[in-house]
């Protein structure tokens, strides 16, 4: 599904990812954890092709195709979805028209017919319900005046609408209370169908209580330093990230 090999990437003059490797098979959920500044958000931006995030070396293949060679929108059309940590506001453009353009752009890329207004509306209403957003959110400007929690739920709503092959959730839990967190998790879990893959980027273990990962990876200084099952997240919960520094110090000694 997604194969990341020895990925090095930089922002301006600073190299942030320094040899990242990750294999994701269909239907798998991979959690990426790590301290602040480890490069967690950078990974999402590099994979989605954001300007200013420059790949120095390494490769990323999605379904056997070179992802890094595609434009931002081509990656989206190929089935890559990024749920933003801080979604931007687009004044005046309603959620509804935004999603309609987006859903149909993706359908067109897949060679499918555009949805009729009625079909689209039905789908949109359904998605809103799943993340417990009132329907009038569809009429409001994209993220315009939304609270932090509403923005996060809106991202998941879009995930549900766009049915990607792989979804990257960038700290979709940050700033949420327990109730909102459950709503977000429920929305995500509803999309786990055995084929769709997820990369769940988070600082805290908390989210992983609700979205059960298959694998947990610890990212530090631009590399995955440890991988394991869900139990690894519990370890982090118990001991924090301080051990990373120690492990590194040891590594340096050795």
């Amino acid at each position: 599904m997604l194969s990341i090999k020895d990925l090095h990437a930089r922002v301006e003059e600073t190299t942030i990812l320094k040899g990242l490797n990750l294999e994701i098979k269909p239907g798998e959920v991979h959690a990426i954890m790590g301290p602040n500044g480890a490069g967690k958000s950078t990974l999402g931006y590099v994979l989605s092709g954001r300007d200013g995030y420059e790949v120095e070396s390494g490769s990323v293949e999605m379904d056997g195709k070179d992802l890094l060679d595609m434009e931002v929108e081509e990656r989206a059309q190929a089935g890559l979805f990024l749920a933003f940590q801080y979604p931007v506001e687009i004044p005046g453009v309603s959620n509804m028209e935004f999603m309609k353009e987006s859903v149909n752009a993706l359908r067109e890329a897949r060679g499918e017919k555009a949805l009729s207004s009625a079909e689209f509306l039905k789908k949109a209403k359904e998605a809103c319900k799943q993340v417990e957003l009132p329907l009038d959110f569809l009429k409001r400007g994209v993220n315009e005046g939304f609270s932090g929690g509403e923005k996060k739920r809106n991202e998941i709503m879009q995930l549900i609408m766009l049915e990607p092959k792989i979804a990257i959730l960038d700290e979709s839990d940050s700033g949420l209370d327990v109730d909102a967190l459950q709503v977000v998790a429920k929305g995500v879990n509803s999309q786990r169908d055995g084929k769709r893959s997820f990369i769940v980027v988070t600082h805290y273990q908390r989210l992983l209580d609700y979205i059960q990962p298959d694998y947990v990876h610890i990212l530090s200084k631009g590399k995955i330093v440890k991988s394991g099952g869900p139990e690894l997240a519990k370890e982090v919960e118990a001991s924090g990230y301080a051990w990373l520094a120690e492990a590194e110090a040891e590594g340096a000694d050795a």
Partner: protein
């Protein structure tokens, strides 16, 4: 991403074709004889010729205004022809069947079929080609309601008293340089009269087309809404792609008597010139409305064309409780220059005005909002709210705001806000991550920016305006 936006600025002007139509055109130049000849061709009453000549003599003493934030070579008023009409119009066709098919094809190509059965139901059209009105549709249906909708040249014959009573009452002959010129040489335009208490049964629309070379278009529109009446009027304009600059100096006067309402919408798409600023229309227009008691005038404009725009649709809020509105989208690209805005003159008590102006600058263009809000000493309890937003696309353009606020009544409230922004990289990235190509993304963001104005347009026009914006932005992003 700004390079991508820059690329989007390659231009496309769909209305740039020339129609092969035989025309009768005056030689270039302007003097009293030309005005007399023009008036004679139109068979105008004596007083009209007098009125024109007075305007001409006033104009001769006036100087072309230079205060606007635009820069263009001086117009040589003696190198313009002041009258041009399709030859086929000489014996005025009585019905559509008698109209030169080439003319009809021209309008069809522009997306304005003039055969009534093919038209959007509910819109009556007056088509003005160079200096004359070609055809006015749905006249019988309008007459049933008592509504007069005809070329102003015809109104001068059929309803001289009405025209005489109102012409020049809102925009006086010597109001400004271009209005004075128009008063002297206007050739045609539309006349609308809505009787007392009548709600005009359909949208009225005039479609202006400049075709002939070296001609100026000087149309004059007069709309009178009697007490308690209601009308919505639309105006559209295009011109062929030519290397020379052409002059368009129109005057529009609106009279809204007690409790009347006039909604005036414009989609202006005159030829803007090429990317190096060659050619294009100079659009110097005076538009003003007078509101009596409880009356309302609403101006909505979408300005995407013209090389230079100089235009300030205004409201004189004379009657108590009257309302003025101005909603504007002005998009400039290439080397276009626009200096546009409004004047809201509050004279009556409890008068209200709203100004929403959205300026979009791209390429090497300059886009200025210039507005005046005046609260007179008698404007007890009056209110104004103004919002001017500018969007810059690229770093070679300019966006400017020049609002004049004058108040001499302590109970009047004026609020003015202006902001400037750009299409942010974050917005573009979000749209593209959701699968939209950059061009679509920019046009969507710009459309969102203009939403408050678009929703004021009648339905058919709103769609047209959105499309126009999309075409104008085409190539703004690569």
């Amino acid at each position: 991403m700004s390079e991508q936006i820059d690329q989007a600025l390659a231009r496309k002007y769909d209305a740039g074709f020339v129609s092969e139509i035989e025309s009768e055109t005056f030689p270039i130049g302007l003097d009293e004889d030309v005005i007399a000849r023009l008036s004679a061709i139109k068979g105008e009453p004596e007083w009209m010729l007098e009125w024109r000549l007075k305007a001409y003599r006033t104009w001769l003493k006036m100087e072309e205004p230079d205060w606007a934030h635009v820069d263009y070579p001086k117009v040589d008023y003696q190198s313009i022809s002041y009258y041009s009409a399709p030859k086929s119009m000489k014996d005025k066709p009585k019905s559509l069947d008698e109209v030169d098919p080439e003319l009809l094809r021209t309008y069809e190509k522009l997306g304005i079929p003039l055969h009534e059965q093919e038209m959007l139901a509910g819109v009556a059209v007056d088509a003005v080609f160079d200096s004359v009105s070609v055809v006015t549709t749905f006249r019988e249906k309008l007459e049933e309601a008592g509504v007069i909708f005809c070329p102003i040249s015809e109104a001068l014959h059929k309803y001289p008293d009405l025209v005489k009573k109102y012409l020049g009452t809102v925009v006086p002959r010597g109001d400004n340089f271009f209005a004075a010129l128009n008063s002297a040489v206007f050739t045609d335009g539309s006349f609308v009269y809505i009787p007392k208490g009548v709600r005009c049964p359909m949208e009225l629309s005039t479609y202006f087309r400049i075709n002939e070379q070296n001609t100026g278009q000087f149309e004059r529109t007069l709309i009178v809404a009697e007490e308690g009446s209601h009308v919505s009027y639309l105006e559209g304009c295009t011109a062929p792609q030519r290397d020379e600059n052409q002059l368009h100096a129109a005057v529009v006067e609106l009279v809204a008597l007690d409790d009347a309402e006039i909604k005036y919408s414009t989609v202006q798409n005159w030829y803007p010139g090429d990317e190096n600023g060659k050619g294009g229309i100079y659009n110097f227009v005076t538009k003003r409305g007078l509101c009596e008691k409880n009356a309302k005038i609403s101006w909505t404009q979408v300005e995407t064309g013209s090389a230079v725009t100089w235009k300030y649709p205004s409201c004189i809020l004379k009657g108590d409780n009257s309302v003025g509105e101005f909603y504007s989208v002005a998009l400039t690209r290439g080397r276009q220059q626009a200096d546009t805005g409004t004047k809201m003159i509050h004279l009556g008590k409890n008068t209200k005005s709203t100004i929403i102006s959205k300026g979009i600058s791209a390429g090497r263009s300059n886009n200025a909002y210039r507005g005046l809000v005046r609260m007179g000493p008698g404007a007890e309890g009056a209110r104004n709210f103004t919002e001017c937003d500018s969007l810059l696309i690229g770093d070679q353009c300019g966006a400017h705001t020049f609002p004049y606020i004058e108040s001499s009544n302590p109970t009047a409230i004026v609020e003015h806000e202006a902001t400037t922004s750009k299409v942010s990289d974050d917005q573009l990235f979000l749209c593209r991550q959701r699968g939209l190509d950059p061009e679509k993304a920019v046009s969507m963001i710009v459309n969102g920016f203009c939403k408050e104005v678009f929703r004021e347009l009648p339905m058919e026009f709103a769609v047209e305006a959105g499309k126009l914006l999309e075409i104008s932005l085409e190539g703004s992003v690569g």
